[in-house]
């Protein structure tokens, strides 16, 4: 019914109709496109401090948005934005971004650090950041190809206590040297 009426209106170009017509609730794409002004088209970020969302796991995005919304995870801007969405809308966006192709970043990385990170990652981080960081266990975020500056800023927030580290991750990270952590981040950034 509705469709027919609109089809007729379209064909005849009756103007008042667009005002009368009921629009469907925002779809996943409608919601997610709005994020791209900061996170890049389809979540592939071109800005080194802004995280790519393309190919991120659905659970990780959902949990991040929940924590931003509640204030549990501090953010410069995401807290203010996350409050604008229902849980169902967050799930729709999380699904949208998780389905996008992993965004290949071109960033300058240190070869020696990558190699060192590669040797450290399995034993220290691999329990949760699985498949060389291409995937994450449960709500653990994927880190493959993520921007190094973004990960460095997040790690700095973890170490200063501004962002709360998961207990089990803290157990691994705390004893590590700054250099080893830096090497690990170079490694994850390098994974395609």
């Amino acid at each position: 019914m509705m469709m027919k009426w609109r089809g007729w209106a379209l064909a005849t170009g009756v103007l008042a109709v667009s005002a009368l017509a009921q629009a469907a609730p925002p779809t996943a794409a409608m919601l997610s496109y709005a994020c791209a002004g900061c996170h890049g088209t389809n979540g592939g970020s071109a800005g080194p401090t802004m995280p790519s969302l393309a190919g991120q796991s659905k659970e990780a995005i959902e949990v991040a948005m929940k924590k931003f919304k509640s204030g549990e995870r501090s953010g410069s801007i995401m807290g203010r934005l996350a409050k604008g969405y229902s849980d169902a809308e967050v799930t729709a966006m999380a699904e949208f971004f998780s389905k996008q192709k992993l965004h290949a970043t071109s960033q300058t990385l240190d070869k020696a650090k990558i190699a060192k990170g590669a040797s450290l990652q399995e034993a220290n981080c691999g329990r949760c950041h699985i498949e060389d960081g291409k995937e994450g266990k449960d709500d653990t975020p994927a880190m493959a190809s993520q921007w190094l500056p973004y990960m460095q800023m997040q790690m700095a927030d973890y170490l200063s206590g501004k962002r709360k580290m998961p207990e089990k991750m803290k157990e691994k990270v705390d004893p590590m040297s700054k250099e080893d952590i830096e090497a690990l981040l170079h490694f994850y950034a390098s994974v395609k």
């Binding site: 791209a36 002004g37 900061c38 401090t49 203010r80 934005l81 996350a82 409050k83």
Partner: protein, 429 residues
């Protein structure tokens, strides 16, 4: 399939008149530039709104031909142009985009021409290179100035007292004047009554000019003559930033509406009464939708801005024509680059739906504006938008401004750079 970039550039060409595409020149009537064979959307304007509408329509439906008409062969971003004026950026290159990749990656046909008329009944636009037919039209021309409300401010006066409210040569001119000014000089800036392009823009500019003066010409000051009763956006944050950084440099005067300028005397008149003189004068005039939107009868009762449907951005004045960006009235969404980007996607999605006889979708939008206070500190305002009872509203209990204590200002200055990189990359690739 999409034309490859080279043959398309040859066909439409920024260059020599696209003679190959011209058919049957009619006497007293412009020739048709690109005869329409498939479903076609024409987009007027290759700025924050137009590029995104063009790209997203193609991303969603390759069956729709998209022709984007822009008068220039490149675009200079207003966002971050204040940093250039303040000397934080040394050139405009990071703010400049071209359209070749947008064309190559998405098959958007870019025509460099001036649109001079819109015929809504015939579904045809007239350009400086010929006519172009459309099924649906997106109008994203940004702003033009209400010069009739600023006596004495004509194109010649603009070369003496730049507005720098469209980025490019005007931005460069204002920067040059600041550099040439003697220490101890006075900069005067006028702010029009809202609504105008970029609510926090004038205050960011005052901050950046003050930043430059403080470091280079410490005996100088800037007088801000604001027609509004108070700072129109992020007021608390600007006031704190000015108090902490620019005491004695920024002289902010609210409720001072400048109605007249005298370019020879280097003076502006507040309400035609109080004269204020300056060594450098930045006149930001009152604004309205880009001239082409006015000429096409798209503006509303206020004669300035274009009323639209809140979900489709279709004009309530003319069927088949959509208006996005600064030119339209988008309810609670401010006239910003981020809003234009967000509106363009909503509009694109619903144009694709309408052209395929499908149901339209309700708007979901975002705006964020970062403003620099110093070269290393920025503050932001952000909001999420939805449609309620046919109007665009900010989703309750969301959004807001940066913390009042500037605790996030340094990190936001870093994120703002990535924002610019991402939004300009969105527009140009």
């Amino acid at each position: 399939m999409t034309l490859d970039r080279r043959s398309f550039l040859k066909l439409i060409g920024a260059g020599a008149g696209a003679a190959g595409a011209v058919s049957l020149p009619l006497i007293g009537q412009a020739a048709e530039l690109m005869p329409k064979s498939a479903k076609r959307v024409v987009v007027i304007g290759g700025g924050y709104g137009g590029t995104i509408a063009a790209k997203y329509i193609r991303m969603m439906d390759k069956g729709i031909e998209v022709v984007m008409i822009e008068r220039n062969d490149h675009f200079v971003s207003c966002p971050f142009s204040n940093l250039y004026i303040g000397g934080v950026l040394t050139d405009l290159n990071p703010l400049t985009i071209k359209y070749d990749k947008l064309a190559a990656n998405h098959g958007v046909k870019v025509v460099q021409a001036e649109v001079t008329a819109i015929d809504a009944a015939a579904k045809m636009v007239t350009t400086s290179k010929g006519t172009i037919a459309y099924d649906r039209l997106v109008v994203a021309p940004g702003i033009d100035f209400r010069l009739e409300e600023m006596k004495g401010y004509d194109t010649a006066a603009m070369e003496v007292m730049p507005h720098a409210w469209k980025a490019g040569p005007q931005t460069v001119l204002l920067r040059k004047q600041l550099v040439a000014m003697k220490d101890g000089g006075t900069v005067v800036m006028t702010v029009p009554l809202a609504p105008y392009r970029c609510p926090p823009g004038p205050y960011e500019r005052a901050s950046m000019i003050a930043h430059y003066l403080k470091a280079n010409k410490p005996k100088s000051k800037i007088i801000v003559l604001d027609a509004n009763p108070d700072i129109t956006s992020k007021g608390g944050l600007f006031k704190k930033g000015w108090k902490d950084n620019y005491a004695g440099i920024i002289d902010y005067r609210p409720a001072k509406k400048v109605t007249e300028v005298d370019a020879k005397a280097m003076a502006v008149m507040v309400e035609g009464l109080e004269e204020v003189k300056g060594d450098v004068i930045n006149v930001i005039p009152p604004q309205r939708a880009g001239q082409i939107a006015v000429a096409a009868g798209l503006v509303g009762d206020d004669k300035n801005w274009c009323p639209v449907n809140a979900n489709t951005f279709e004009s309530t004045k003319q069927a088949g024509i959509h208006v996005i960006g600064d030119a339209c009235v988008a309810g609670a969404m401010p006239k910003s680059g981020y809003s234009a980007n967000s509106e363009a996607k909503v509009c694109a999605m619903n144009i694709v739906a309408l052209m395929n006889g499908k149901e339209t979708t309700e708007l979901s939008g975002i705006n964020t504006c970062y403003s620099y206070i110093t070269d290393k500190e920025a503050v932001s305002v952000a909001a999420v938008y939805a449609v309620k009872e046919g109007k665009i509203i900010a989703v309750p209990n969301s959004g807001g401004v940066s913390p009042a204590d500037f605790s996030a200002a340094k990190i936001e200055a870093v994120y703002a750079e990535s924002w610019l990189k991402n939004i300009l990359t969105e527009m140009s690739t």
